[in-house]
């Protein structure tokens, strides 16, 4: 189970690292290379984003990657194939991240089955609050997969508790308002917010949106369990090529 893995791993490390890539961006070969590099660099778990044409919660960098992947012909089937390859090849948990329509069109329970069969451990679906997630929760739970839910700085404490009731594996705390990829201020406000998150759930906490340096990761130590690095690696790959990514990730902790 994802949560157990994370708790075990946390015993060995101050903070865990989760990275994020968009599958098929710019190609599936590149995706595989990125996963390899990231695992070698020591990340503890990864989000694999199935590209969607309307990635409403994503900022410009990930948005562009989604589009490019689709233009290059990425399909959900390709993503499933890659998922199988990486979970067989590497020893860390992989999660899908995507928008609900991808699951809906695939068929939610079929999607969960196929995920499980390919060794995936969970999913993050940012446009699916638990109120809309009946089928999804049934399917995920039926396959022993972890549905990851999200906290935001605007989420009131009662709702945090409510969300915790549905989440498995960990809670994804978005560090600030806005979409992925923009600047985050690692401040006392963020600290207060994480305290509220901590009080609302016993699940491990992942913090994402704007994490892009060792300083950021250090800031999170003791306040969260997982630092999530998303747009920054894509930005790096776009600017300096995939090779730069491994070094970058090694340097984060």
């Amino acid at each position: 189970m994802l949560e157990t893995y994370l708790r075990d791993r946390r015993k060995q490390k101050d903070i865990l690292l989760m990275t994020h890539i968009v599958l098929g961006y710019p190609s599936f070969e590149d995706s595989l290379r990125m996963v390899t590099a990231m695992v070698e660099a020591g990340v503890d778990l990864m989000e694999l984003q199935i590209p969607f044409s309307e990635p409403i919660a994503d900022g410009p960098v990930i948005l562009a990657a989604n589009q490019k992947a689709l233009e290059n012909g990425a399909t959900v089937a390709d993503c499933m194939t890659l998922a199988k390859t990486v979970s067989e090849r590497f020893d860390i948990p992989f999660l899908f991240m995507t928008y609900y329509n991808i699951l809906y069109r695939y068929g939610v329970s079929r999607f969960a089955e196929d995920m499980a069969r390919r060794g995936m451990q969970g999913a993050i679906v940012p446009d699916l609050p638990p109120e809309e997630a009946g089928d999804y929760l049934d399917a995920m739970n039926g396959q022993n997969l972890s549905p990851i839910f999200i906290y935001s700085p605007t989420t009131p404490p009662e709702r945090m508790k409510y969300l915790a009731g549905f989440g498995k594996g960990f809670i994804y705390c978005v560090a600030r308002k806005g979409v992925t990829g923009a600047e985050t201020r690692f401040s006392s406000d963020l600290e207060d917010y994480l305290t509220r998150c901590r009080e609302a759930t016993t699940l491990p906490l992942a913090v994402g949106f704007g994490v892009k340096s060792k300083t950021d990761v250090d800031f999170l130590k003791g306040k969260a369990d997982i630092a999530v690095v998303g747009s920054q690696t894509i930005r790096l790959m776009d600017e300096k090529g995939g090779e730069a990514v491994e070094g970058f990730i090694r340097g984060l902790r």
């Binding site: 562009a64 695939y106 989420t155």
Partner: protein, 408 residues
């Protein structure tokens, strides 16, 4: 949010967590306003002193004689301030923004019509305003951009995705999730997450309420059918709401573009290219591929060129309570042409879709029957598109000369 806005399984609120509180506030404010009898009066007051509601129901005697069947009436939403029914929705949301004490509004726009309406409302209410508009549309619809800027709005061209309406919606959401505290997103049609479909329908229902009263006064009985074009579905819902409980056939007309077989259309409710899905926060029929990726759409009318459709219309369709048809670009130009010539009114290209279907059906109806066509907007705003649709060589000369004058 208790009521999640489901209509026979369509609708809902598929929201990023960060917006949940914002939608709770919006839904609460709307609910309170709706339950406050003074609110609708205030809304009517604004619409009658700032726009010119009630808009007339015009008897189209020439078209009636031309088709020799049902008596044709035209509901004149084109006479609204800013030239379309969009005014109803934006002014209504403007009042809610005031109630919420917010100071900034954002909106998406395709044709520019909703952008101009929102910028107008913002100027009038004293709100800051940013309009998201696909880069392709910014290029195509420069006149509307010009007016939005004059109105004090910032027009932000959206360079992502297909760079049209749906991408502008995504971008507006991206703004909103960053600035929800002081910002309201004025969605332009009866789509999106709950409570938008219900709320937009509520404000647009003024069309149908007026039309019902007016036709009863003019004809002494209900119409046989009412027709409205369907983009997102707000003008159709506005008209239909007035007749939902009546034995009146509701006909929605979608953009058939270059034909339903051509894949170049925007028919979500009467084409097999569409399937149920969830995007932009709600569940409805979308033009999407097997993977759930949204497809490119096409219509001569920018305002109908959208992948989704009101979940309430989807539910009416499934329940057999409304019928949906498609009109092709060519049919639209022809119906528009005839309407202008016969009655001296200029329907918007969007509205002309409704005319196409009404014209097909009017002759087969009895002379005692009447029908209402919703002229959701005026077409003179579309001069660039219409002149191109009519392929007018003197218009082209004019533009070429004008360009030379700018030292092109």
């Amino acid at each position: 949010m208790d009521n999640r806005g489901y209509y026979a399984g369509f609708g809902g609120a598929f929201l990023p967590e960060i917006l949940v509180a914002t939608f709770d506030e919006l839904e609460r404010t709307f609910r309170e306003a709706r339950n406050d009898p003074a609110f609708w009066r205030e809304y009517e007051e604004v619409m009658s002193t700032y726009s010119c509601r009630p808009t007339p129901l015009t008897y189209a005697g020439n078209l009636t004689r031309h088709f020799g069947g049902a008596r044709i009436y035209i509901k004149r939403e084109d006479l609204n301030h800013t030239g379309a029914h969009k005014a109803n929705n934006v002014m209504g949301q403007g009042l809610l923004v005031q109630r919420m004490g917010k100071k900034r509004v954002i909106a998406e726009t395709g044709a520019g019509q909703h952008g101009v309406a929102t910028a107008t409302m913002a100027a009038r209410f004293g709100f800051d305003c940013t309009i998201y508009m696909g880069e392709v549309d910014v290029e195509r619809q420069r006149p509307n951009v010009f007016w939005m800027e004059r109105l004090g709005a910032k027009v932000a061209p959206v360079k992502d995705g297909t760079r049209i309406l749906k991408d502008a919606i995504n971008e507006a959401f991206r703004d909103w999730v960053s600035n929800m505290d002081a910002t309201h997103y004025v969605l332009g049609t009866a789509c999106g997450p709950h409570p938008f479909p219900e709320m937009v329908t509520y404000f647009q229902s003024i069309i149908g309420l007026e039309a019902r009263e007016q036709i009863l006064k003019a004809e002494g009985k209900l119409p046989a059918r009412v027709y409205a074009c369907v983009g997102g579905g707000s003008n159709a819902m506005g008209l239909f709401t007035g007749f939902l409980k009546d034995p009146v056939e509701l006909v929605g007309v979608e953009a058939g573009g270059r034909g339903l077989e051509s894949k170049q259309h925007a028919s979500r409710l009467c084409s097999s290219d569409a399937a149920i899905g969830v995007a932009q926060g709600y569940k409805t029929y979308f033009l999407q591929n097997g993977d759930g990726q949204m497809q490119e759409t096409h219509s001569i009318a920018a305002g109908l060129d959208y992948v989704g459709v009101s979940p309430i219309l989807s539910s009416l369709k499934e329940a057999g309570k409304a019928r949906f048809e498609a009109a092709t670009d060519d049919e639209v130009v022809e119906a528009m042409s005839l309407t202008i010539r016969k009655e001296g009114v200029i329907p918007a290209l969007e509205s002309a879709h409704a005319f196409v279907q009404a014209f097909k059906e009017a002759p087969e109806l009895s002379k005692d029957a009447s029908i209402i066509i919703n002229q959701s907007g005026r077409g003179d705003k579309d001069i660039f598109t219409v002149a191109d649709a009519f392929n007018d060589p003197r218009w082209q000369d004019f533009i070429i000369r004008k360009a030379k004058g700018y030292h092109a």
